[in-house]
């Protein structure tokens, strides 16, 4: 039957950019931050990353198998969710907790709501917040130094591990207490925090790659960070204090959140106008949680709240067709 020709409606040509290539790009962009996390926190960080990624991938495949959904195994979205979640976990987290987080992210937040493209919240962030609320002590104990024994046997004696490291106040805690912080250290990332959030430098390298590959636009991260900085300036109580403002911007996972979490396609608005509204909302809410409230999870809560508003923002910022005067509203 070799002389049968394919017949289909136009267009007959396709761009080489595919879902999996986009996911791959984001994973590549997260490599510097992951490597720095491993360098900063030791090999255990690598194990946390591997365990979390594996948990996400296995959950997705098992779910698809059980539900008889034709899975799209190599779109890498499950790998990406696992990686993002791992970068949002403290290095001392017990492995079973990381696995639980992965299952929660994929099963509850993503698959039960319809799978890829249908989740109403960023799965990795939702899992981070889920773990934070369920196990507040563990999630908030940030290690400062390298963990001494990153052996696989840790899996069996997880509980003892946190004690090996030295935990201390995070830069945000210091700022809250009115102390000054070492900005250079924060920028490079030699501070306490979750595995992937500490190094602004590594994250910005990854973000630059995403801009270069046109995977994301700067609208959301910039409007987010800018509006948060303005909020900190107005309500932070320090006036125009560069140490305080930059410390706030570099600390607490804002860079990771702004460039890698808030820009998640599914849970962010489509139009540039909507994206600005979204970014500004995130900036203000992060400020409210961090400065007026006292939550260390300001960024996560703000982005999750913002995610919930996306359908509303999309509805109010619907674009007008070219050459049309106005379009009637749709419910």
């Amino acid at each position: 039957m070799s002389d049968l020709y394919n017949v289909s409606a136009a267009p007959h040509t396709r761009s080489p950019i595919k879902t999996n290539s986009i996911m791959q790009d984001v994973i590549i962009a997260l490599i510097p931050a992951s490597l720095f996390g491993i360098f900063n926190f030791g090999l255990r960080a690598l194990l946390v990353i591997l365990v979390t990624v594996l948990s996400c991938v296995v959950t997705e495949h098992v779910y698809c198998k059980l539900m008889k959904i034709k899975s799209n195994p190599w779109d890498y979205s499950d790998v990406l969710t696992g990686l993002l979640l791992a970068l949002n976990l403290p290095v001392g987290i017990p492995y079973w907790m990381a696995i639980l987080g992965g299952i929660f992210a994929i099963l509850i937040v993503k698959m039960l709501f319809g799978g890829l493209g249908q989740n109403f919240m960023n799965p990795a962030l939702a899992a981070r917040v889920f773990l934070f609320i369920s196990f507040p002590g563990r999630m908030a104990s940030f290690l400062l130094d390298k963990v001494s024994s990153p052996a696989v046997t840790d899996f069996l004696r997880d509980g003892a591990l946190v004690l090996d490291g030295v935990s201390g106040a995070t830069p945000l805690g210091q700022l809250k207490a009115g102390e000054t912080v070492d900005l250079l250290k924060m920028f490079v990332g030699h501070i306490g925090g979750t595995i992937g959030e500490t190094s602004a430098l590594a994250l910005l390298i990854g973000a630059a790659y995403l801009f270069y590959r046109k995977v994301i636009t700067p609208i959301i991260p910039f409007s987010y960070i800018l509006s948060f900085a303005v909020f900190a300036l107005l309500f932070g109580g320090h006036g125009f204090d560069m140490n305080y403002l930059l410390g706030q911007v570099l600390g607490g996972g804002l860079i990771l959140g702004a460039f890698f979490m808030a820009t998640d396609y599914v849970t962010s608005p489509i139009t540039p106008k909507g994206q600005i509204i979204f970014g500004v909302f995130l900036g203000i809410m992060t400020g409210v949680f961090r400065i007026i409230g006292s939550s260390v999870e300001g960024v996560s809560f703000a982005i999750l709240l913002g995610n919930l508003l996306v359908p509303l923002i999309d509805m109010f910022t619907r674009p007008r067709a070219f050459g049309k005067e106005r379009v009637k509203d749709v419910k």
């Binding site: 020709y5 409606a9 267009p11 950019i17 493209g117 396609y265 489509i270 070219f322 009637k328």
Partner: protein, 452 residues
């Protein structure tokens, strides 16, 4: 200064290098010639000949049926073999006049006679265009005499010549502009004669710098004609994009270019107008491109209408590899077909053969990346429109401006999840139009019934 680009649009692999440097060669037909009665927008033409009649080159064999319709002219001399349904490049079977070529090319009286168009009246020019059976040769096939007859001639400010040729692979307009620039310019002057207040603009994509330079040189002395270099981006040659880019005026789907004081014609159409008016030569032939990675020798031919594409493929050395997909027109908006034994018509202007079918990919879920929206030249939300189309939510589809879609294909091209966006939206549009027509007919019937 007009804007030289528009919102959205895409950059594809151009593929023009395959055939752009091949000079146009004239190709004479061997087999029968097939003239579909419907190769334009509007009512099919009415046949004026019947089986056994002898016809000459330039003879009208079918007459425009109504105002929006077009004459069909014979491109050869010979005998009418049959009037029957034949397969066309769009996949439809159309009533067609089949002529057996006697290879003598006897011409009708007055064919090719030079005329001084500057002394011709506007009515005469329009009549000549209508008689010559000219329709838009860019692919849509709207009867040109209708386009050239707006409600008020004095309100036309711009006559725009579309030399963008933004579809990948196609090079017939490029060859025409390179080989016969004078014909295009003279044709534009003829149109300008119809509109006293109009300026002429020739828009050419900047991937054809040689043509732009040539046209600038040739029109330097004429203050009424301006050559504009346009950014190379698909769909630069779309009517709404072209009008916006060259004049800054915006059109929506309900408006015609004439509503904003513009008349837009493709370069091939303009050249045909020149030939019809100044040379008394009706529209009997055109330049076609045969290209694609499956074609042995991609090139450009000047062929008579009615000739089979299979003869053209043969002249191009056939296929060097088994094509998986055949496309008439460009890869963005053309028709895929299961056979290439179809005639060249006023709207079927190229044959592309591809070894691989890029669009034969599986759909995956939408990840809401927004690329379709950013690339949509009409600022629509293709991913939402597709969902509404699939769910038969016509009301929402209309409210989101779905009817504005021009079917350019940018959204489907760019979609990383391979979703059939353009396909579904265009289909939904057609379904809604059909529904409206049905309702209208029903309404008319009711009225008729009530009157009795």
């Amino acid at each position: 200064m007009a804007r030289l680009t528009f919102m959205g649009g895409i950059h594809t692999y151009e593929g023009k290098e395959l055939s752009k440097d091949k000079p146009t060669t004239v190709l004479l037909p061997k087999g029968d010639l097939v003239f579909p009665l419907s190769q334009h927008i509007g009512a099919p033409a009415k046949p004026l000949v019947s089986k056994g009649d002898v016809v000459s080159v330039g003879q009208m064999i079918a007459e425009a049926d109504g105002y929006i319709s077009s004459n069909i002219i014979s491109s050869v001399s010979g005998t009418v073999k049959a009037i029957e349904r034949r397969l066309t490049a769009t996949g439809k079977m159309e009533e067609s006049i089949v002529i057996t070529n006697d290879n003598e090319y006897k011409k009708i009286e007055g064919y090719g006679q030079s005329r001084d168009y500057t002394k011709m009246s506007k009515e005469k020019i329009r009549e000549a265009v209508k008689d010559a059976g000219i329709v838009g040769l860019g692919g849509a096939g709207f009867p040109t005499h209708v386009k050239l007859t707006p409600k008020d001639d004095s309100k036309i400010d711009y006559v725009i010549v579309n030399g963008a040729e933004c579809e990948p692979y196609l090079t017939y307009d490029y060859r025409l502009m390179l080989e016969e620039p004078q014909m295009v310019i003279e044709g534009l002057k003829i149109i300008l004669q119809l509109f006293d207040n109009a300026k002429g603009i020739i828009g050419i994509e900047d991937n054809k710098p040689d043509v732009i330079e040539k046209f600038k040189e040739l029109t330097a002395a004429d203050s009424k004609i301006e050559v504009q270099a346009l950014k190379t981006k698909y769909p630069q040659g779309g009517e709404r994009q072209l009008v916006y880019v060259t004049t800054g005026r915006k059109l929506n789907s309900k408006k015609l270019p004439a509503d904003v004081g513009c008349i837009v014609n493709n370069v091939a159409t303009v050249a045909a107008i020149y030939k019809a008016v100044a040379k008394s030569t009706p529209l009997t032939n055109r330049i076609v491109t045969i290209s694609g990675d499956a074609v042995a020798e991609p090139q450009n031919f000047n062929v008579p209408f009615g000739m089979s594409f299979s003869e053209i493929a043969q002249a191009a050395g056939g296929f060097k590899a088994q094509p998986k997909k055949l496309v008439f027109g460009g890869p963005m908006m053309g028709h895929a077909m299961y056979s290439y034994d179809v005639p060249v018509t006023k709207t079927a202007n190229s044959l592309l053969g591809f070894v691989k079918d890029e669009s034969a990919v599986e759909e995956s879920p939408c990840i809401q990346c927004g690329r379709c929206y950013f690339k949509c030249p009409l600022n629509l939300l293709p991913m939402k429109l597709q969902l509404m189309g699939l769910n038969n939510e016509d009301e929402k589809f209309l409210q989101l401006g779905g009817m504005e879609c021009c079917g350019c294909g940018c959204c489907s091209f760019i979609c990383p999840a391979n979703r059939s966006l353009t396909q579904t939206i265009v289909q939904t549009k057609q379904r809604i139009i059909e529904k409206r027509n049905e309702e209208h007919e029903l309404h008319e019937l009711h009225k008729e019934h009530a009157a009795k």
